[in-house]
Amino acid sequence: MSSKDVGMQPAGARAAPMGLPASPSRDDLVKQAPPGPGSGGVGWLQANMAKLVLSPSLAVTLVFVYGFIVWTVVLSFSTSRLLPIYKWAGLEQYARLWATPNWYVAIKNLGIYGGLYIAISLFLGLFIAILLDQRIRGEGGLRPIFLYPMAISFIVTGTAWKWFLNPGLGLDRVMHSWGWTSFTFDWLINPDMAIYTVVIAGVWQTSGFIMAMFLAGLRGIDNEVIKAAQIDGAPTLQIYWRIIIPQLRPVFLSALIILLHMAIKSYDLVIALTGGGPGNATELPSTFMYSYTFTRNAMGVGAASAVMMLMTIAAVIVPYLYSELRERRT
């Protein structure tokens, strides 16, 4: 599942007016009460239909998500190499993982990539949203231009940028033919710079969506507060900085969560753009996991790395989901 779309997900989670029915306020505690099935006279089937309908999905989730997580955790404590072997190995695979230089490269790259990708996407998203919020003529035509990259696959994005940044035939050649003959752009094959090409392509793909989130946030701000600030004589810049942006905090949080978990899950883009190279210059935990598990016959190490990824994401997502589901108690 391409992680860009996964990104929209927590956005949805934010939106949930968790559990509050929309019916106009009624007295009493009726809002707490489910319309619930009256038991009598309708039979067991009707009364339990709801649970019955939900149960396959629940079962599938328990097995395919939680069961498999446990399975992978078990593998990470086993001696598995080429194939799964269920022989206890204690923390050996974790020790091996943390003794692998490549793993450090992957983590360092994730730090660079994640940090820049999140920061630039947030900044660019907010900036374009603010620009678009200035009663722009043709906004309806511009918005889809910023948003369309999220409709396409990371593999396509990677393929396109790989060509666009092609040393020799790509940007280089364009600049040369425009007369800037000393221009070189070799980041794709430069081990020190390759990771930044991933950042560029990643930002290109996602920032439009972040822009859309911010734009919706801006549109949701109470107009009267802004009018009041204008009457108070605040210049536009000040109004944004002091009044509007602080009110966008929930959007920032949602966007941050989305970007963070997308960064950690990034896999397709690297594969298509650099294949993890040159050398291991753009290795990420996700590519590390894949290659150690499936091609380097180190399934235990791969499982251990997957567990590390899961724990990192869980550390962010679990508190977030908990607060989202908890906040608006039904």
Partner: protein
């Protein structure tokens, strides 16, 4: 045996008890209004009658048959919801006919029933439209039509007029009353608007905190409220309630009320026998605004009228009458004077108390003496 009987009804959500033992009954053709402030349990009570919420204890009987374990659809009850709950994707005709369709009533019969109800409610021209194309009043009619068409044993109304604007509300109120008179249906109606309760009901039940405060005809509830809560809740503006003390005096007891300067003494209202009032007993003296008037506006048939001087603090002309605020017993007191009475703020004017309409309450228990 009454038509609808509610017996020691309890409803609990976890640790919170919403209904604390409700006993109520209603005869066939009656119009019972459940009234009370927000959170009193009146809507929950209605929902338990509908079967939309399970009860924790007690019994609900319809025509002598226990219905509390029946599914809502098997109780032969129809309900009009606060938001009208019209199915947004169905035409008005389908909305009205849905219940019949679910009950597998043949199409021809269904059509006839819809046409009949539409005629009664004068919504024939709306049948092909969608709910979203209707005004609030029209939606209200459709919601009633949906209930009527099934010809159920009992109608439930859950604050049906609260989403309408003031004028429409009055019109629809009349409409509902007329409908009830014409069809003779049995209705249970929830509202927080005590005027609605007074105008519609043949029987009012006042609820507070999940307990019945008083059950009676509108006149009983209005004129002889059982306790301070009912006295205060019913009527607008609400009843004047003043703290006072019983004093022995020459020709029997009097009630002394503190005024801004000094105090005044009022005779014991005829509603109470003086025997019940030992000297120095603290009481709450209750009298409705319309029983305090200017002298010319006083009820000539009143058996006991007493005039007291008071200073005019605020004047609120309401067109037909003028409300005058003064101070008595340490509280603001509202009097209803004729619109023609000439008054100025700060004047010292006579207030005529019609003591026939006055009541006394025990400040400790809150009950009427």
């Amino acid at each position: 045996m009454a038509f609808l009987e509610i017996d020691r009804l309890h409803k609990r959500y976890g640790a919170t008890e919403i209904l604390k033992g409700i006993d109520l009954d209603l005869d066939q053709g009656g119009f019972l209004v459940l009234v009370g402030p927000s959170g009193c349990g009146k809507s929950t009570l209605l929902n338990t009658i509908a079967g939309l919420e399970q009860i924790t204890g007690g019994e609900i009987r319809l025509e002598g048959r226990k219905i509390n374990d029946l599914h809502p659809s098997r109780r032969d009850i129809a309900m009009v919801f606060q938001s009208y709950a019209l199915y947004p994707t169905m035409s008005i005709k389908d909305n009205i006919g849905f219940g019949l369709e679910m009950r597998k009533v043949p199409k021809a019969e269904r059509e006839a029933a819809i046409a009949r109800v539409a005629k009664t409610l004068q919504i024939e021209h709306l049948l092909q439209r969608r709910p979203s194309q209707l005004s609030g009043g029209q939606r209200q009619r459709v919601a009633m039509g949906r209930a009527l068409v099934r010809n159920p044993r009992l109608f439930l109304f859950d604050e049906p007029l609260s989403n309408l604007d003031a004028k429409l509300r009055v019109d629809m109120r009349t409409e509902i009353k007329r409908l009830h008179q014409q069809t003779g249906t049995t209705i249970v109606y929830v509202t927080h608007d005590q005027i609605e309760a007074m105008t519609l009901a043949t029987k009012i039940a006042v609820l507070k905190d999940g307990k019945l405060q008083q059950v009676g005809t509108p006149a009983e509830i209005y004129n002889r409220p059982d306790n301070l809560f009912v006295a205060d809740f019913m009527g607008s503006p609400s009843m004047n309630l003043m703290a006072g003390t019983v004093r022995a005096s020459g020709n029997g007891a009097m009630i002394q009320l503190a005024q801004r300067e000094g105090s005044i003494a009022l005779q014991i209202p005829p509603s109470v026998t003086a025997r019940d009032l030992p000297p120095e007993k603290k009481v709450i003296f209750g009298i409705r605004p319309e029983a305090i008037t200017d002298i010319d506006g006083a009820d000539r048939h009143a058996s006991q009228l007493q005039t007291i001087e008071g200073r005019v603090d605020v004047i609120e002309p309401a067109g037909s009458d003028t409300y005058v605020v003064t101070q008595l017993g340490g509280k603001e007191v509202i009097a209803r004077m004729r619109a023609e009475a000439s008054l100025k703020v700060g004047d010292l004017v006579p207030f005529a108390f019609n003591l026939d309409k006055a009541l006394l309450f025990d400040p400790e228990t809150g009950y009427r003496l």
